[in-house]
């Protein structure tokens, strides 16, 4: 097998954009969520429950979590590309990260939209 170093996958800008945009979405949501929490201070279980019965907050939390998972994917892939130099191990770890993040994403839907 030819062991030459190969580059030229011709992708990358999308991941880079996703990383930036997801960071902005998360930052914006954290800010808004903090404002909501401050507005409802002091918090009680009932207030928390009423807050989370509103669709806009659920959408906000879900967007935040989608942003988090996408951001984590780009970040973890970067870390693995930087430090794991065996292609087989890197692929295996990337698949593990992808599978776990997908599981978290599905789980998060249940958490946010369940009763």
């Amino acid at each position: 097998m030819v062991k030459r170093t190969v580059v030229g996958a011709h992708y990358g800008i999308l991941g880079w954009l996703v990383q930036r945009i997801s960071a902005a979405v998360m930052a914006l949501f954290i800010l808004l969520f903090l404002m909501v929490l401050l507005d409802h201070h002091p918090l009680s279980y009932d207030i928390w429950k009423t807050l989370f019965s509103q669709i806009w907050l659920r959408i906000g939390v879900q967007l935040f979590l989608i942003g988090l998972f996408l951001h984590a994917w780009v970040g973890m892939r970067d870390i693995l590309m930087d430090y794991v130099h065996s292609t087989g191990t890197r692929l295996l770890l990337q698949v593990l990260v992808l599978v776990s993040l997908s599981a978290y994403a599905i789980w998060s839907i249940r958490i946010v939209w369940g009763n």
Binding site: A9, Y11, I13, D78, M81, D82, H85
Partner: protein, 231 residues
């Protein structure tokens, strides 16, 4: 003044070691390279590269008290003793402070560091407006000393795949040049998770550059242009 210098002779040493030197002198307005030349007079087995001794040729780049720089334009008075000198990190050491620059130049060559223009050459020269020429300021001044690229962890981890800050600054220098016609080929070549996107913007390169250039900004402009052609 006290110095601690990295020594390695592949023919004689099993592993590198630090060797102490002492010079009886006041820093005054001397540069580090002046001191190194005095040390070499004491111990001629010490190897280092030097040429222009005024920050133009980029030969005497080394790691000075933990930071990459050019010995010839680093004032002795700016350095804390003992002054620790090591070869540029991330490149194979040939001997003492001399490193093998080939991995660095290989990446530099890979970005095609020359104008690509298929139009027939004009009678005189290919003209640029003063504004177009100004786009190249902060780019053409690079002397390829490798201080930036060898201070970049992404280059340490992937020297065969990541172009590195010096190469990417030059890549942008030719993309930004209005006389160059290969913009989209250059962007195609760089749009790669390793060649360009190993840069995480930590700006070690900006901190290290002895000429005050900003590779991170150039890399940002390359990414900006890729965004423009994508979205």
């Amino acid at each position: 003044m006290r110095f601690s210098i990295y020594r390695f002779d592949p023919d004689a040493d099993a592993s590198p070691h630090m060797k102490d030197y002492e010079l009886a002198l006041e820093a005054g307005d001397m540069m580090l390279l002046d001191a190194l030349i005095l040390i070499k007079a004491q111990d001629d087995s010490l190897s280092l590269r030097k040429s222009c001794r005024e920050g133009v040729c980029g030969s005497d780049a080394m790691n000075i008290n933990g930071k990459n720089g050019l010995a010839c334009i680093t004032p002795l008075s700016s350095l804390k003793e003992p002054i620790e000198l090591r070869p540029l990190p991330g490149l194979p050491v040939i001997r003492d402070l001399v490193v093998d620059m080939e991995p660095f130049f290989k990446q530099y060559r890979s970005i095609k560091p020359y104008l690509i223009n298929n139009d027939p050459p004009p009678e005189t020269e290919r003209l640029q407006s003063p504004q177009e020429r100004a786009e190249l300021d902060g780019l053409y001044e690079c002397i390829l000393c490798a201080c930036c690229t060898t201070s970049c962890p992404s280059f340490w981890w992937n020297p065969e795949k990541f172009v590195g800050p010096a190469g990417l600054l030059q890549a942008w220098r030719f993309i930004a040049d209005t006389r160059d016609q290969a913009t989209s080929e250059r962007l195609d070549d760089l749009e790669d998770p390793y060649r360009l996107f190993r840069c995480h913007g930590i700006m070690n390169c900006v901190d290290a550059c002895p000429k005050g250039l900003n590779p991170t900004e150039a890399i940002g402009k390359i990414k900006g242009m890729m965004v423009r052609r994508t979205v």
